[in-house]
Each structure stands twice: as structure tokens, then as C-alpha cells.
């Protein structure tokens, strides 16, 4: 009796979790239906599996290109954030003087500034740099990456700072006596010890940069540089009435997220927990 009850509770919990994901189900089933079928019954399975709308959506969104752009921007931004923030945080912890404290406080304090407060002046400044210094900060993937690094700096420095404080300094001192310079000392000895924080920073930043819409929408204007959220938004501007096509487009954008989630689920949940609790 007790065992049956336990099985029942397990089944109920799984069923409720699946119901929680019903919007994903609705998107996927309707991406295969034609217009008449879609409005006949929105919740039903499609009568035939036809990838016609996927082919069109993929072409209309220039999906491979957008995917490539998103991938480039996400990977390079995160690599730069990790390299620069870990070294910065390490020095700020190890050189415990007034200047370090002030720099750290500025990093943390600015986390309170919402993006909307910075977006217009930032675009003006980047426009000025483009016009006067001839560096293409606007409408280029490089400019977008640069700004991502700026916006990701605070959080990453904060997380590394907290972790490095708990790492004993003795190992580093031993390596210094052995004649390591600061550069090799950091990359050979310190950086490998920071792995858990590096994973946390990488995961939090993937979720943020991959899905970011507002900053790229202000920076990028050429079709060729659109990231996935940008191409989705412009696709929706044109096809909101053709929901079956729109659903195929949405499914395309969700697939990479689901693959990422399935392949690194444990790390993602751990990373998100570590990032939030600190």
C-alpha cells in the first residue's frame, strides 16, 4: 500500500513537471501544422510531420548565419571576460591596499546600474569613437564583444574575488621562491585552482549573452551581423500572422539551448546556484 502511494506521488510530480513545460509542447506540435489544422485544434498532435515550415523559417531567419554570429560573440566575449577578470581579481585580492579596495568597490557598486541608464550615452560614446578614432565599435561583432566584456566585468570580478580570498597564499609564495614570474605563476598555479568559479562565470555568461536582445539591437544594424535574438525579433516583425512558420522559427532557436542544457545540466544548475548565492 505504502509502495503504491509512493509510486503514485512520483508519477504525479513528473506529470506536473511535464504540464509545466506545455508551452514548449505547443510550440513544437504547431510548427508542423498547416494553417487550417493549427486553428482546428491547437493542442492536438500534427497529422503529418512536415519540415516545410522549418526550411522556410531557417532561410527567412538566415538561421545558420545568426547561429554562427551568436556563437562567435558568446564564446569570444566569455573567453575575454574569464582571462581579464580572473587576473584582475587575483591582483586585487593579493595586493591588499587602499587602491585595490576602491577598484573592487567600484566594480561591485556599479552592478546596481540598470542597462537602460547606460544605453543611450554608451551608444553616443561608441558613435564618437567610430567617427573620431575610426574604430568600428558600432555595427560590428567586435564592438558587441567589447561591450559585453565591459558589462560582464563586475559580476566576474566579484565571483573570482570571493573565491580567491579563500585560496591560501602559501602555494603561490612557494612558486615565487622557485623563480616563477607573476605571469607563469598565475596561469600555471593559480588559474587551474579557480576552475569552479571559471565554470560558474562561463555558465552565467552563456545564459546572459546568448539570450541578450537589447544591447545587440542597439549595436548591430546590418543583417549580416544579427545574432539569434535579433533575427528572431525581425522574423517576428514580418510573420506574426503566420504562426506555424513562427513556431518553426522558435523551435529552431530553442534547440541549441536544449542541447546545451542536456549536455551540461549538472554544471549549469551548480553554476547558477553558486552565482546566485554569492
Amino acid at each position: 500500500m505504502k509502495k503504491a502511494g509512493k509510486i503514485a506521488i512520483n508519477i504525479i510530480v513528473v506529470a506536473l513537471s511535464l504540464i509545466y513545460l506545455f508551452p514548449v509542447y505547443i510550440v513544437i506540435v504547431n510548427s508542423f501544422k498547416n494553417r487550417a489544422e493549427l486553428y482546428e485544434n491547437i493542442l492536438a498532435f500534427p497529422s503529418s510531420v512536415d519540415f516545410e515550415y522549418y526550411a522556410t523559417a531557417m532561410q527567412k531567419m538566415s538561421f545558420p548565419r545568426a547561429f554562427g554570429n551568436s556563437l562567435i560573440v558568446t564564446v569570444i566575449s566569455i573567453a575575454i571576460i574569464i582571462v581579464l577578470a580572473s587576473t584582475t581579481a587575483w591582483v586585487l585580492v593579493r595586493v591588499n591596499n587602499k587602491l585595490s579596495k576602491i577598484i573592487f568597490l567600484v566594480f561591485v557598486g556599479t552592478m546596481l546600474i540598470p542597462f537602460q541608464t547606460l544605453m543611450m550615452p554608451l551608444m553616443q560614446e561608441m558613435g564618437w569613437i567610430r567617427d573620431h578614432l575610426r574604430i568600428p565599435m558600432l555595427d560590428s561583432l567586435g564592438g558587441l564583444i567589447y561591450m559585453n566584456v565591459g558589462f560582464g566585468a563586475s559580476m566576474a570580478v566579484f565571483l573570482y574575488h570571493g573565491f580567491i580570498k579563500s585560496v591560501p597564499v602559501s602555494l603561490e609564495e612557494a612558486a615565487t621562491i622557485d623563480g616563477c614570474n607573476k605571469f607563469t605563476l598565475f596561469w600555471r598555479i593559480v588559474f587551474p585552482m579557480l576552475k569552479p568559479t571559471t565554470a560558474t562565470v562561463a555558465i552565467l555568461d552563456v545564459i546572459w549573452i546568448w539570450n541578450d536582445y537589447l544591447l545587440p539591437s542597439l549595436v548591430i544594424s546590418s543583417k549580416a551581423y544579427r545574432t539569434i535574438p535579433l533575427s528572431t525579433a525581425s522574423f517576428f516583425g514580418q510573420f506574426t500572422i503566420q504562426w506555424n512558420m513562427a513556431m518553426a522559427g522558435l523551435t529552431l532557436t530553442i534547440i541549441p539551448v536544449i542541447i546545451f542544457y542536456l549536455s551540461a545540466q549538472k554544471y549549469i544548475i551548480k553554476g547558477v546556484a553558486a552565482g546566485a548565492v554569492k
Binding site: 567600484v106 563586475s154 545540466q265
Partner: protein
């Protein structure tokens, strides 16, 4: 570790990030304050006219801005409540000894990974076409109609979507809190004859205060600054009835081309966000139970 002669390393290791950070965050912040005292339409050739505090004074008689403040407050209040309630319930369920707890946790967390923009589009279909088509078929049109065309229900729709996105995330924070409670404390409560409710409200919750602080802080700042979902789900409509703070600022600057005035709003937005978050952290910190 670092001696006087290591100054070069200090600069080499910190300067690149400080430089990027300064150009992307610090400088725009200060020029932003400057812009807020000018009247300007954003066109480089047109003059920027110094108007002093006028932009800030104008804010208080701007009906659209004030109603966006009301929407944001209402939305934030409802969303915080719902997100934390669901997140806490989810966390309590997936920290039991159920066999399916890991699978359930994985499923409940998933919406958080799909970005706000995409989520908004998904639900736009559900609350719009799907709802009205279901309503026509089963006749329950008092519940199933196009929520996005009704000013009150469109706001509720936003609350639901925000909850769907964030509840799994907040669940993770509560899970960390629950797992941090020592087993022997719970056992001691059982020995003393505490039932499920008493254990929950008198033992578990007080020991989870840090998780409540973090969760409230996270939901408050995320909901208050909501933009993506707002943009893709309702676009601020119908009749600006769901236009939140962030979107009002965006529209003022980039749609109506009031760069100076919009920036004044953005500065006020910053002050409100900073004040509310700092205040909230300071009061919840006081209520935390100290574990010895």
C-alpha cells in the same frame, strides 16, 4: 606576495579590464547624467539646449511615465509573490526523497534558459491565438479569450510569463538553502514532536532566511528592470497599459527621440533601483538567524 617592484604586474593584470569597464560603464554613466540636463532630439546636427532641472520637473506631470510606474509596481509585486511561492514549493518537492526529484528539477529549471525575448513570443501565441481558439471551441470564453487585448489581463499575462521564466531559477536558490539546514536540527524537531507544518515554519524557514534575502533581491531587481518579455509579449500594449519603466525609457529615447528627457528618466530609474535594492538588503540582513 606583491612587492613594490611588482607595480608593472599590477598594472598589466588590471589595466585592460579597468579600461574596457571604464569606457563601457563608467563614462556612459557620467555623460548620461550630463545629458539629462539637456533637451536634444538625438540628431548630431541639432543643438543640445541646456534646460537645467526642467527634465526632472517634467517627470512628475508625465502621465504615461507615472502610469508606467504603477504598472511596474503592480507587476513587480505580483510577480515576486508568485515566483517565490512557486519556487519555494518546487524546492520543497525536489528536496524530498522522491525518485524522480532530479528529473523534476531539471524540467522545472528549463524555462530559465530560454531567453525572455523567445519566451515572450511563445506566450504571445498562447495568450493570443491559442486562447481565443480554445475559447471558441469549448465555449469558456470568460477565461479563454485573447488576454493580450485586455489591459488588465495583459498585465497578468506578463506576470505569468515572468513567473514561468523565473520560478525554476528561484527554486535553485531555495534548494541550496534547504540543503544547508543541518540534518540533526530537523531530527531534533521531530523528536520534540513537531509536525510537518511546525518544522516548516518554525525550523526550516527561519534557517533559510539567507535564501529568502537572495531570492527577494533577485526577483525584485529582475522584475523591476523587465524589458525583453515586455517587448516581445505585449510591446507595452494595449494602449500602453503594460508599458513598464524600462520600456517607457526605451520608447522615450529611441521612439519619441527625446534623448535628454528620456535620459533624465533613466537616471531616476537608476536611483529608484539602487535605493530599493539597498534598503531591501539592509532589512532582510537583520532578520537572518545566526547559526553557531
Amino acid at each position: 606576495m606583491f612587492k613594490k617592484q611588482d607595480k608593472g604586474w599590477y598594472i598589466l593584470f588590471t589595466a585592460p579590464l579597468i579600461f574596457i569597464f571604464t569606457t563601457v560603464v563608467i563614462i556612459p554613466f557620467f555623460i548620461g547624467i550630463g545629458y539629462s540636463f539637456f533637451s536634444w532630439d538625438g540628431l548630431p546636427l541639432n543643438p543640445k539646449v541646456f534646460v537645467g532641472m526642467e527634465n526632472y520637473v517634467k517627470l512628475f506631470s508625465d502621465g504615461r511615465f507615472l502610469s508606467s510606474a504603477i504598472h511596474t509596481t503592480l507587476f513587480t509585486f505580483l510577480a515576486i509573490l508568485l515566483i517565490n511561492l512557486l519556487g519555494l514549493i518546487f524546492a520543497l518537492v525536489v528536496t524530498t526523497k522522491l525518485k524522480v526529484r532530479n528529473a523534476a528539477r531539471a524540467m522545472l529549471f528549463m524555462p530559465y534558459l530560454i531567453g525572455g525575448l523567445i519566451l515572450g513570443y511563445i506566450w504571445k501565441f498562447i495568450f493570443g491565438d491559442a486562447f481565443s481558439s480554445i475559447g471558441e471551441q469549448i465555449g469558456l470564453t470568460s477565461v479563454f479569450f485573447n488576454w493580450l487585448l485586455d489591459s488588465r489581463f495583459a498585465l497578468y499575462a506578463l506576470v505569468i510569463v515572468a513567473t514561468w521564466q523565473m520560478a525554476g531559477y528561484i527554486m535553485i536558490i531555495y534548494i541550496t538553502g534547504i540543503q544547508g539546514i543541518p540534518e540533526d536540527v530537523i531530527e531534533a524537531a521531530h523528536v520534540d514532536g513537531a509536525n510537518l507544518w511546525v518544522t516548516l515554519f518554525r525550523v526550516k524557514f527561519p534557517l533559510m532566511m539567507p535564501s529568502f534575502t537572495i531570492s527577494l533581491f533577485m526577483t525584485l531587481s529582475n522584475c523591476f528592470k523587465v524589458f525583453d518579455v515586455n517587448f516581445s509579449l505585449t510591446g507595452g500594449g494595449p494602449n500602453n497599459a503594460t508599458e513598464m519603466f524600462a520600456m517607457n525609457i526605451y520608447n522615450e529615447i529611441f521612439q519619441l527621440n527625446n534623448y535628454g528627457y528620456g535620459q533624465a528618466k533613466a537616471i531616476v530609474f537608476f536611483i529608484v533601483v539602487a535605493a530599493v535594492t539597498l534598503y531591501q538588503v539592509s532589512i532582510t540582513k537583520k532578520r537572518e538567524v545566526v547559526m553557531v
